[in-house]
């Protein structure tokens, strides 16, 4: 219903009720390994672990993962290719260690992206925002971010319907018209967002908003077993990559 497949997956994930702190520990640990360990075999192990955990115990649809990785994949491919091409006096050629450097870049980046995706597809963003507060991000900022999260979906829905209405009246039939329609679309969504903010403010004032947007925190208890397994698993990953290398 939302059009953001990663968010839908996060709410439906089997790990939705795990403590965000636990999942952060795991995923940040994996991201760290992805960066710090050598690409072979570190990145491969991290990437595999992230994907297996996601489609296995967390029950994230493989399709969602596959689609989500497409965008970073495009950037990684273009970026890595550019990095390993050499600009010489006689034109363009491969850098001396192109294959190794390219492989390492792609490996690190894919593993890192997979680790972040594991977090993204198992933890709704709104669960992570309270964690920011514990990292001493001011409450006001966290509240702004939580409003962004809610309004995002409202505005995306407006964007979709207004664009459909414009398309139906042939607003995107030529290049020029597409531009004009896009401008009108952006303006409509922007004025909508202001309107929403004003009316939401009124709606919330009625429920006693004096200071902030405090809500009852959801209790998602941390699991010792999960934490222990995470630490052990990460340690095993590090030592395995050292042994294999």
């Amino acid at each position: 219903m939302t059009g953001l497949a990663v968010d839908d997956a996060a709410w439906a994930s089997a790990w939705r009720t795990r403590s965000p702190a636990d999942k952060l520990l795991l995923c940040v640990g994996l991201v760290g390994c992805a960066l710090a360990l050598p690409a072979w075999p570190g990145s491969v192990l991290v990437g595999l672990t992230a994907v297996v955990l996601a489609v296995g115990p967390a029950r994230v649809p493989a399709r969602t993962l596959g689609r989500a990785i497409r965008w970073p994949l495009a950037f990684i491919a273009v970026g890595a290719l550019t990095a390993v091409v050499q600009l010489g006096g006689d034109g363009i050629g491969w850098a001396p260690d192109a294959a190794a450097r390219g492989g390492s870049l792609v490996g690190h980046a894919l593993a890192g992206s997979a680790a972040v995706l594991l977090l993204a597809t198992t933890t709704p963003l709104s669960d992570l925002l309270p964690a920011l507060q514990r990292l001493r991000v001011p409450a006001a900022v966290v509240e702004v971010a939580s409003v962004v999260y809610r309004l995002l979906f409202v505005l995306l829905e407006s964007l979709r319907t207004i664009r459909e209405a414009q398309t139906a009246r042939l607003g995107y039939s030529t290049w020029r018209r597409s531009y004009r329609s896009s401008g009108a679309l952006a303006a409509a969504v922007l004025t909508r967002s202001w309107d929403r903010a004003h009316r939401l403010q009124e709606g919330l004032a009625g429920r006693g908003m004096d200071t902030g947007l405090r809500v009852l925190p959801e209790v998602l208890p941390s699991s010792r077993v999960f934490r222990a397994a995470t630490v052990l698993g990460l340690a095993a990953l590090v030592s395995a990559s050292q042994v294999i290398a």
């Binding site: 960066l35 990684i76 972040v116 900022v141 971010a145 962004v148 995002l152 952006a186």
Partner: protein, 229 residues
């Protein structure tokens, strides 16, 4: 242009995070102050952030045939000022990383530096300069939005070139490579985003004048007498 997770070496990731931090903290201070003085600002700022996110979901047809998404940092800078955009932009980048897999967590600092700091400041500077030189709102908006986009693209290329200097020609060679590769999409996009800005503000001036006045983009017109005919 968002640098993907894991693409930058750790030292660079940390370096850019440290470089971005003061601006983001400054923005956060501004936001905290604003919210303390006007509690309802939370919702307006949230709406601004959500709009920035949603704007990047608009598809702009580009001359090269493919379509691309605007960065939206220029509009944000003109409407909400660069300090606030440093924070909002970073929040939006975090959202893009976790909802769309655009960008990443360790590259958040680098992406924030180019998209939430350099882009808005350059865009805002270009906008103010154009206005100061006697330019109207719309040329100012065009300059602001197009240059914000270009500045972002330049910064990202510099970041990549610093991380991956060319084996033969070093940093300069790498910069030329990255600028060249991304120019194909980014230069048309910059022009496109400038045009989008003009069309956007043209509608806003007629439809949302009071909001523009509230944000200080347009001077407040003296109130018309009641029952003016």
């Amino acid at each position: 242009m968002h640098i993907a997770e894991g693409f930058l070496p750790p030292a660079h990731a940390i370096g850019w995070t440290l470089a971005a931090a003061p601006f983001v903290v400054h923005g956060a201070r501004a936001v905290v102050k604003e919210v303390r003085e006007h509690p309802e600002a939370t919702l307006l700022l949230g709406a601004a952030g959500a709009f920035t996110f949603v704007l990047s979901a608009i598809k702009l047809p580009s001359i090269t045939g493919s379509s691309s998404h605007p960065t939206g940092t220029g509009v944000g800078a003109i409407l909400f000022r660069p300090p606030v955009m440093a924070l909002l932009g970073t929040v939006v980048l975090l959202f893009q990383a976790l909802l769309l897999a655009h960008g990443g967590l360790t590259t958040l600092g680098a992406n924030a530096f180019s998209l939430a700091i350099v882009g808005p400041w350059v865009g805002y500077g270009a906008y103010r300069l154009t206005r100061a030189l006697g330019g109207d709102l719309l040329p100012g908006v065009f300059a602001g939005m197009a240059l914000a986009d270009l500045a972002t693209y330049l910064t990202t290329s510099v970041q990549l070139a610093l991380a991956f200097p060319d084996a033969g020609s070093g940093f300069t060679g790498a910069l030329v490579k990255f600028l060249g590769v991304f120019a194909v999409t980014q230069i048309p996009l910059a022009i496109g985003e400038g045009l989008l800005g003009v069309l956007l503000f043209r509608v806003l001036v007629t439809n949302a004048r009071p909001d523009l006045e509230r944000l200080g983009v347009l001077p407040v017109r003296p109130a018309e007498p009641e029952e003016a005919r």
